[in-house]
């Protein structure tokens, strides 16, 4: 079994259009959730979101590319360019055959669906652009990454709702660990902040109208976000041989299914995924210093997640830190675990724990150290990233300091 390390990271999200800006926002506990700027906003009952502002596709892509790239693909490409540049890898030669891409997205090209349904249903048009299908398909972003970087090994996308990114990164980890790839681009992307994408979520009655306040007694729901984060997962010996800067080691991964309810989370399913990731990494629970929580800010998730953490860690649950950065960037659905992995890397590499902002009142059912409102300096050696999706699909990654 090969060791797997992260040698590059890139992102665009509501906090910033790159990794340094995002980490700065995490350190400052800055909120990226704002009033939405989208068409027909006045017909929505939910009018806030973690939206990427000042997005100018023409600054990054030419006209022929833009007609093929939905926003979720654009976000993916921008994040991947940052990650690959940091890693300093060139896939043009033989490495391209030993490299691939696994991405998470729940909805794929939601904006493209939305715009074209509008055209045919609302505006009564009988013709759509010829590239609607290649633009909206869930694997479009993975395929465009393969083309931009010459990745000729395994390439596909994973859709497991809010756990998509963690499932994708877990599979990429397993491929590099098993030796079936030398390097993988992985992470996730989502761009659901359009009229139809928000209207669908409104229906569930779990969205907040004012803020995402994970673990706070007065929390009143989740807030959607958008964006992407992409990482380079690389074989440790390969990275070391070329003198690459190693950001963190991916040590373990586990996925479980609750097999019980289509929306309600399960403490047992979450706990089995957390415990499974630790066993996969061969790390004892008391070495975990930080957990990036799924922490959606809904009543159901937050108390179930805290109960699962308490079950797995016992007395150590009161010593570790657990925070939800969704309070700052919103819930990126299929892209969320990828953006949240940045907080895990920051904890290991910089010794800074991103806070849970918007925290106002302790909840006895979430009685853990949730790093309220202000970032904290702490040396941690092992961190976890949780993702628990609708459908009862759980995916947890374990990372270790390089």
């Amino acid at each position: 079994m090969n060791r797997v390390v992260i040698t590059g990271a890139g992102t665009i999200n509501a906090l910033a259009h790159d990794v340094p800006g995002t980490l700065e926002a995490f350190r400052e506990g800055r909120c990226g959730i704002t009033e939405l700027e989208i068409r027909d906003r006045d017909r929505l009952s939910i009018q806030i979101g973690g939206q990427v502002h000042n997005w100018d596709p023409e600054a990054h892509f030419n006209r022929q590319q833009i007609v093929l790239y939905d926003k979720f693909t654009q976000f993916t490409l921008l994040a991947a360019r940052e990650a690959v540049a940091q890693a300093g890898l060139n896939f043009d030669g033989h490495l391209g055959y030993d490299a691939g891409v696994v991405l998470g997205t729940a909805g794929g090209g939601v904006n493209t669906w939305d715009e074209n349904y509008r055209a045919v249903y609302e505006e009564g048009k009988n013709r759509v652009h010829p590239f609607v299908v290649p633009k909206l398909m869930n694997n479009a972003a993975a395929s465009h990454l393969s083309m931009e970087f010459n990745l000729k090994g395994p390439a596909f996308s994973v859709a497991t709702a809010c756990a998509s990114s963690n499932h994708a990164m877990g599979l990429a980890f397993q491929m590099v660990r098993s030796g079936s790839a030398k390097a993988m681009l992985t992470g996730g992307s989502e761009s659901m902040l359009c009229f139809g994408g928000i209207k669908a979520w409104e229906g569930l009655r779990v969205m907040s109208k004012d803020a995402c306040r994970p673990f706070s007694l007065n929390r009143n729901g989740m807030v959607q976000g958008e964006g992407a984060a992409i990482f380079v997962f690389e074989d440790y010996d390969h990275a070391r041989a070329r003198g690459a800067d190693i950001l963190a080691e991916v040590a373990g991964f586990a996925m479980t299914s609750d097999a019980s309810d289509i929306v309600m989370p399960s403490k047992q399913g979450a706990a089995r995924a957390i415990g499974g990731a630790l066993r996969d990494a061969r790390i004892s629970g008391d070495r975990v210093g930080y957990i990036n929580a799924h922490g959606t800010g809904t009543a159901a998730n937050d108390k179930t997640e805290c109960a699962a953490v308490a079950d797995v860690f016992g007395p150590h649950a009161d010593r570790l830190m657990i925070s939800s950065t969704k309070s700052m960037h919103g819930h990126l659905i299929g892209g969320t675990g990828a953006v949240e992995l940045l907080a895990c890397i920051m904890a290991l590499r910089d010794g800074v724990i991103a806070p849970t902002i918007g925290y106002e009142e302790p909840d006895p059912e979430c009685a853990l150290d949730v790093v309220p409102n202000t970032a904290r300096t702490a040396q941690v050696d092992v961190v976890l990233s949780n993702a628990f999706a609708f459908g009862g699909l759980n995916a947890v990654l374990a990372l270790r300091r390089a």
Binding site: S45, G203, L204, R205, V206, S208, R219, N220, G221, I262, V263, M264, T298, A299, A300
Partner: protein, 88 residues
């Protein structure tokens, strides 16, 4: 014959609970009728569609909202208030 708000609310809840409307009493709680959290959200949606109203309801904390869902009768009363407010 015009149906009362109570009759229409009972019909919606009965359909959700897969019961005959005659088996749904005004005193019944949704829990006693076997309606879970998803069924509750679906019932509220059906009520909004039937009466053309917006029900203030957040599934994160159903007891916090002004819309009293404790019994079938309380739901019917809350619907009546919302319908009256709309036509006022």
């Amino acid at each position: 014959m015009a149906q009362t708000v109570m009759d229409r609310v009972i019909a919606i809840i009965a359909e959700q609970a897969v019961l005959d409307p005659s088996d749904v009493s005004p005193e019944a709680t949704l829990e006693s009728l076997g309606i879970d959290s998803l069924g509750l959200v679906e019932s509220i949606f059906a009520i909004e569609e039937a009466f053309d109203i917006s029900v203030p309801f957040n599934a994160n904390d159903p007891s916090e909202s002004d819309f009293d869902i404790s019994t079938v009768a309380s739901i019917a009363a809350a619907v009546e208030a919302l319908v009256a407010a709309r036509s006022a």
